[in-house]
Amino acid sequence: MKLVKVYVTLKNSVLDAQGEAIKSAINTMGYRKLNDVHMGKYFELNFADDYQGLEEDVDKICDDLLANPNIETYRFEIMEDA
């Protein structure tokens, strides 16, 4: 099996409502030395071992489905075997 880890985050210029809410919660909890928080999505995809052209396909999957290119960016890592 090939494990692919995908990270999707909001573009910097896009309002991160969730990150802001979490940041102020962490502040309320008493941790004050926090500058900022961003919340994103994390995916683990398991593909068959013999997958050819995995990188290209994952890129497409991210672009078309896992991330919304209007507001998000993504990156991924292919773990050789898991």
Binding site: A17, A25, M29, M39
Partner: protein, 224 residues
């Protein structure tokens, strides 16, 4: 009885609960701000539905850190009545006052519909006005209402008769069709359906009225 409706930023069924008490069962009720630190003088605490803090991290997760919450825990531990509806239920599980968790509906979509519930346990402060195994009609409106707990917890819930309401049809994929559970002592109830939206025939059902009436009955019984 005097009830507190605890209002978190983003709660949006607070007034519905307020009217349920004031007009539905003609008891005293006050809104209590999440920044308050005391629940003295109240006999029951109601945690309303809505999207506290936008539900931005997980439903109910952020509300747990509001100042009033310590007081809610104390109140519950004193054996007093605590009722959480929808987001209120989510907050109570996040708090650990109720077992399990509420996760995204199985089909992934928000669902607003009037559903049939089975009243599983009529021996609680919240259900003594219902008939055993009665079917009632109550609206649901949630995106994260699938009740989850592990098998061990489930057997405990069953053993202690903590399961109070079950869906007739599994609308959201909940474990064992669970729609509402109490703590072991039965003084804390959390449920996803909205009894406060079912108080008058004209809005579609009045089957929720008995839930609030039960709380009053229970109090009378306790006092006698």
């Amino acid at each position: 009885m005097k009830f507190a409706v605890v209002n978190f930023p983003g709660s949006n069924c607070d007034m519905d609960l307020y009217y349920a008490i004031r007009d539905g069962i003609n008891e005293q009720v006050e809104l209590v701000d999440y920044r308050a630190t005391s629940l003295d003088g109240f006999d029951g605490v109601l945690i309303p539905g809505g999207f506290s803090y936008g539900d931005y991290l997980r439903s109910g997760a952020i509300a747990v850190h509001a100042p009033i919450v310590k007081e809610i825990i104390r109140f519950a531990n004193d054996g007093k009545i605590v009722l959480g509806i929808c987001n209120g239920f989510q907050i109570l599980t996040e708090l650990g006052l109720l077992p399990g968790a509420l996760v995204r509906n199985e089909k992934g979509r928000f669902i607003c519909e009037t559903v049939e519930l089975e009243v599983v346990n009529t021996q609680t402060p919240f259900t003594n006005e219902y008939q055993a195994n009665e079917t009632i009609k109550v609206p649901v409106a949630h995106g994260e209402g699938r009740y989850y707990c592990d098998n061990e917890t489930l057997s405990q819930l069953e053993e202690n008769e903590q399961i109070v309401f079950r869906y007739k049809n599994n609308i959201n994929g909940s474990v064992a069709l669970i729609a509402g559970v109490t703590n072991k002592q039965k003084n804390v109830l959390g449920m996803m359906p909205h009894p406060e939206r079912a108080l008058e025939e004209i809005v579609g059902s009045n089957d929720g009225l008995n839930l609030f009436q039960s709380i009053i009955n229970n109090q009378v019984r306790v006092n006698n």
